[in-house]
């Protein structure tokens, strides 16, 4: 089959291969160390060149080889991310709720109201033309009809119907609502009516000659036994006065402090303070004419009624700090 020469060459090559194998198997450095290093250097250089050439292609290969792993990893990370996002959202929500409760407690403490906190669980449909919400406490929590409902910012409404575990609250923006209100820092009273517009209530002053400034705050006047309204709850501030002094009807537009469209944590005043807290619940704000009613009353201040109520108030238990905390910055 083979030519003679080819046969000879092949025989020699086989013998050479076997010899190499046997020599190499003898171990040690052997006669091939130099040979190996020379060839290794040459082919190593070739391999390095090849590596440079093929590296871009191999990047694709790496991608292909690890594709499944990466997909699993992506799935796992996505799931983890989702869980963490949920956690973050929930913690933000928790913080907001805690803040709302905190503010509510401050208001309650400042006004000596005994409150039961509640959460708004349903909002009445707007097309019914009534502004009502449902809260998650009822008779079994000691809620009764006509109790005032507040939140951290001010008056929200009053309880209109009580069930076992829920109650219905009519908001002060409801057109059927009327609240006796007093202008902070004065004795001027009037009747505040809902208009259905959550940013503008109508305040009709009993004394048409009274002087009302834009930005003045309103607090509740208070009813007998604190029902339907406990005294001293901040309601809102005057944004506009219509009609001049002396006119038969003098009406001021009031913007409520509490945002009716964003209610979540509210408190039901289950026991009003024994004495009217006057203006001490109002948040301290520069344009307010209300004197600071803290422990150091200015000469023009009305006597602080809460001070006399302190011993009784502390026994009610919901607050421990007897003095209201208006900011020292208030003038």
């Amino acid at each position: 089959m083979f030519q003679r020469r080819a046969r000879l060459i092949i025989a020699v090559l086989i013998v050479v291969s076997l010899t190499f194998a046997i020599l190499d198997l003898r171990g040690g450095k052997g006669p091939f160390a130099t040979f190996r290093s020379v060839i290794g250097t040459a082919l190593g250089g070739v391999e390095r060149g090849g590596a440079t050439i093929f590296s871009p292609v191999l990047a694709i290969g790496d991608w292909w080889g690890t594709w499944g792993d990466q997909r699993d990893q992506i799935n796992a990370l996505q799931a983890e991310n989702q869980a963490l996002n949920q956690l973050v959202r929930r913690s933000a929500e928790d913080r907001a709720r805690a803040d709302a409760l905190d503010g509510l407690l401050k208001v309650a403490g400042a006004g000596r109201y005994r409150i039961t906190p509640a959460e708004v669980i349903a909002v009445g449909p707007e097309q019914e033309f009534s502004w009502t919400v449902t809260i998650d406490i009822g008779t079994q929590d000691g809620i009764e009809r006509d109790m005032s409902v507040i939140n951290a910012d001010g008056l929200v409404g009053r309880v209109s119907a009580v069930h076992r575990t829920t109650s219905t609250v009519v908001l002060i923006v409801d057109p059927s609502m009327s609240v006796g209100a007093r202008i902070a820092g004065s004795e001027e009273v009037g009747i505040l009516s809902g208009t259905g517009d959550q940013n503008s209530l109508e305040f009709q002053m009993l004394d048409p000659l009274a002087n009302v400034d834009v930005g003045t705050a309103l607090v509740t006047f208070g009813s007998k036994n604190g029902k339907p309204y406990a005294p001293g709850i901040p309601i809102g501030e005057v944004t506009e006065v219509r009609g001049t002094a002396g006119q038969l009807t003098r009406v001021a537009a009031i913007k409520p402090f509490a945002r009716m469209s964003a209610l979540s944590i509210v408190g039901v005043v289950v026991r009003p303070p024994r004495t009217d807290p006057r203006d001490s619940v109002l948040p301290a704000r520069p344009q307010l004419t209300t004197p600071d009613l803290s422990a150091t009353p200015s000469p023009s201040a009305t006597p602080n009624p809460t001070q006399s109520a302190n011993p009784a108030a502390t026994s009610l238990g919901i607050w421990s700090n007897p003095s209201p905390q208006p900011s020292p910055k208030a003038s």
Partner: protein
Amino acid sequence: MWLRQVIILVITFLIAFLTQNSFLGRLGLPGSTPDLILISVIAVALAYGSAVGMMYGFAAGILVDLAPSTEGVIGVNALLFMAAAYFVGRALDPRDRTVPLIIGLTAGTVGAVILARGVIDSILGQPTVVWGNMAGLILSAAIYAAFLAPLVVMPVGWFAQKFTPEVAV
């Protein structure tokens, strides 16, 4: 003629060597690394016949054994490649070389060489043979060889016919 044939063989080896060590080996394919050099030996044996194939196989085997990143006994690959070239050159009649036949022959030869290498290494006392993996290795190598065979055998045969028609089979 001689020179052109040698040049073709050297280029074939370099391409096969480079592609196998720098590309196919680093792909991280499951099972064995596609044995492109062995496939090139088969291609040369088919293009030039058993005798030239065996000489090429000897040179390729010695170089593979000496090259970095292989730690086998020098000469074993040379012997195996020569055996493969002999077998392939004799097995296929030049007149009925169809693609399926070439693919089957290449895959079978590659698998057989891997098995033989395992046997020889075991006999020579090389501790690196893991017999548990042998079936997977042979199977994967045969599959890769089946894919690569037409890509290597056809171009090598074409170049042999084109540049050295006197000696091409």
